[in-house]
Amino acid sequence: MSETILALDGVSKTFSGKPAVRDVSFTVERGQITGFLGPNGAGKTTSLRMALGILTPDRGHVALFGGPPRPGALDRVGFLPEERGIYRKMKVIEVIVFFARLKGVRPAEARKRGLAMLEEFGLAEVAESKVKTLSKGMAQKVQIISTLVHEPEFIILDEPFSGLDPVNQYALEQVVRKQAEAGRTVLFSTHVMEHAERLCDKIVLIAKGRKAFDGTVAEALGEVPRRVTLEIVSDHDLADVLAGKGAVHRERQGEHDVWIVDLTPGVDAQDILKACVDANVKLTRFEPVRAHLHDAFVHLVGKDAAAPEAETA
């Protein structure tokens, strides 16, 4: 039976009369990677701050490890905020030890773990260097180490991929996977759907402060109408041929006329192919289109809510 690590129950937060989060509820279960998705300004950071007790909800309840987000519970959480930085004048290992000690790790143990993680992240040689001498990528790795050094049960990452180059984005994905494999629970917010699609067991979509979807990635993709693209050389009118199987329309793509079929629920691509064969349609292209999370997001929240902030990596 799964254990709920974090539960937001009908939480709302308003700033100067402007609602930032409206009646949002979701849970994060132990051992899962949960993606918290939405465009910029959707209310993700405010929700995460309420989850950690940094902000108090105007309405609703937050339960972290089954209780209010008290300091004791925070020691079991590793949080990497969106606006992140570290003390530039301190030595790398001192920064890591400092943040570990804030989470209750003893100094000697914090140093030992910090050095081991620096080794693991390929930064062993800069352990005694000042943070200000590091490159941006190295400093970001030190921030991640500072978040994980106390071996938290629950890791919350707010827009962890923003500002990272593709190589470091991939490296961070590996870190997230590794933490999940080690049995840790991960919740990360992002407006980049591809990361969520690759990593998440579960996603929570939020737009304009409201939750739009809560479920698995497959379930989210299942919400998007499946689509088939066809090109033919015969004179058939596919709207007649495929009547009742979906919404059919014709559009010009380059020098070709293509038929687009948005499948009716219960109809799959094989049914379309069979109908075309039965009607002697001469096909030159038959392409079932695979939906992406971005499509699901646009479908679920509408183009207005998703754009222009929603991005793809």
């Binding site: 925070l74 570290i86 004048k89």
Partner: protein
């Protein structure tokens, strides 16, 4: 408590590890020593001036000049003695030390015999073309002074020198001649010289009495004045420490905000823990500075006492006034409350700003508020019972400084209790308000424009993403 301790410890170590801290630590005693020592250094570094004095009256004016100069020195010594007595009390050993030091020969100007009194022959020495043989080796002639009395009663001095700025010798001789002329005028008009000398010594006997005490014990001792001076000194010291320390807090906070460290901190510690931890860390820095400076001052005081063996400066009285429970405990209390008030406000300002330029506009009113007690304390030196000072001590942000000056004056309990309660209540409100601002600033829900807007059309908070 763990987080407060760790944050305070980090703050403390981050300051102690900087060059700026060590510069602050050493620069204050260095510049104080420089301030005290510079005049002596300048005095001692001045080369000996050699001069020729030619008395064309056959020695009468020369004798009068030196007698008057000696008398002037004695008068000057007496004035210094009286001033010292006013400050330090009637202490025979202090007087002996002053007598000893004030009767020293002034060897800055040495009269020499150049072997000639003819101006044309002396001219090369005056212009530097030739040098005189002296005990220090060959030296230029600083001045040639010719005294004459061409007409009875009309004394003239011709002062030849290429140095246009050092006028002390000329001034001393001119003053001596004037005194001699005035004395001779009185004598020539029938006044007995003994009478003139006796008149010079006439001075009133002044007794300062305290009407709150009975006749026997009414006389005000010099030691009773010390607490007022110590109070003023402590108020200045408190102002300097608080002013320098809160500036440290401000710059560190802005740096932290700019580096976006606060968000990382909030993942581990609550706002109040960060606020209190920072205040305590910087308080520890200021305590370190105060302890170091205090120890250095004590060592310096002992050293001065050792060097001036004959001078029994009433160090015990000064220390007793400084560590009088009636002053030291309020001073500690005022420091803590004053530091917390100003420190919390400056931290809040820092949390609202990304750069020191952002902070400038918010700092200006605070600087004015902080400067006012400095002027009022200066005013209180001459008029500690001024109604303006009394009223200003009720302004809670100024209370810590001004009450330190008022406390040694036997003010009423209503003033002491009332100002203290108002100050503590204000401190609680200010710290609470600063905490709210700090929280908003740390989460980027407010910035310097938000505060400005409160004073215009009412504030609007910015929502987080």
């Amino acid at each position: 408590m763990r987080n407060i301790y760790l944050i305070a410890r980090r703050e403390f170590l981050s300051y102690v590890a900087t060059w700026g801290f060590w510069l602050s630590l050493l620069s204050v005693p260095f510049f104080m020593a420089l301030g005290f020592g510079m005049p002596i250094l300048i005095e001692n570094s001045q080369p000996t001036r050699y001069y020729v004095l030619v008395d064309e009256t056959g020695g009468r004016l020369e004798q009068a000049v030196y007698e008057q100069i000696d008398r002037s020195r004695e008068d000057e010594a007496e004035r210094v003695r009286e001033a010292a007595s006013e400050m330090l009390g009637n202490n025979p050993q202090v007087e002996a030390a002053l007598d000893n030091s004030l009767q020293l020969e002034d060897d800055s100007y040495v009269r020499v015999d150049a072997g000639t009194t003819d101006l044309d022959e002396l001219r090369p020495y005056l212009t530097g073309a030739a040098e005189l043989e002296t005990d220090e080796g060959p030296q230029p002639l600083f001045a040639a002074i010719y005294l004459s009395e061409p007409v009875p009663g009309r004394i003239e001095m011709a002062y030849w020198s290429t140095n246009l700025t050092d006028s002390r010798l000329r001034g001393d001789i001119r003053t001596a001649l004037r005194d001699y002329m005035q004395l001779r005028y009185l004598v020539d008009n029938g006044v007995d010289p003994a009478l003139i000398e006796a008149a010079d010594d006439i001075a009133p006997v002044v007794r300062e009495l305290n009407p709150e005490r009975s006749a026997d014990a009414a006389e005000v001792t010099q030691g009773e004045r010390l607490p007022i001076f110590v109070g003023v000194g402590t108020a200045f010291g408190l102002w300097i420490v608080i002013f320098s320390v809160v500036n440290m807090l401000l710059t560190a906070m802005i740096e932290e905000k700019g580096n976006k460290v606060l968000e990382m901190m909030l993942a581990s510690a609550r706002h109040h823990e960060i606020l209190v931890g920072k205040l305590l860390g910087v308080a520890a820095v200021s305590a370190t500075l105060l302890l170091f400076w205090g120890a250095l001052a004590s060592i310096g005081g002992l050293a001065v006492q050792q060097v001036m063996a004959a001078a029994d400066i009433p160090a015990a009285d000064i220390m007793a006034a400084l560590f009088d429970p009636a002053l030291i405990f309020p001073a500690i209390g005022y420091f803590i409350v004053g530091y917390l008030m100003y420190g919390a406000v400056f931290l809040a300002i820092g949390s609202l700003c990304e750069t020191i330029q952002d902070a400038q506009t918010l700092m200006s009113p605070m600087m004015l508020i902080m400067m006012m007690p400095l002027f009022l304390v200066m005013m209180a030196i001459d008029a500690p019972d001024s109604p303006i000072v009394a009223v200003a001590s009720w302004v809670p942000l100024w209370t810590p400084f001004i009450m330190l000056v008022r406390l040694p004056q036997d003010i009423g309990m209503v003033d002491i209790v009332g100002t203290t309660l108002a100050m503590v209540a204000t401190a609680v409100v200010v710290i609470w308000g600063a905490g709210v601002l700090f929280r908003m600033g740390a989460l980027n829900q407010a910035n310097q424009d938000t505060v400005k807007s409160w004073f215009q059309f009412g504030g609007k908070k910015k929502a987080a993403g």
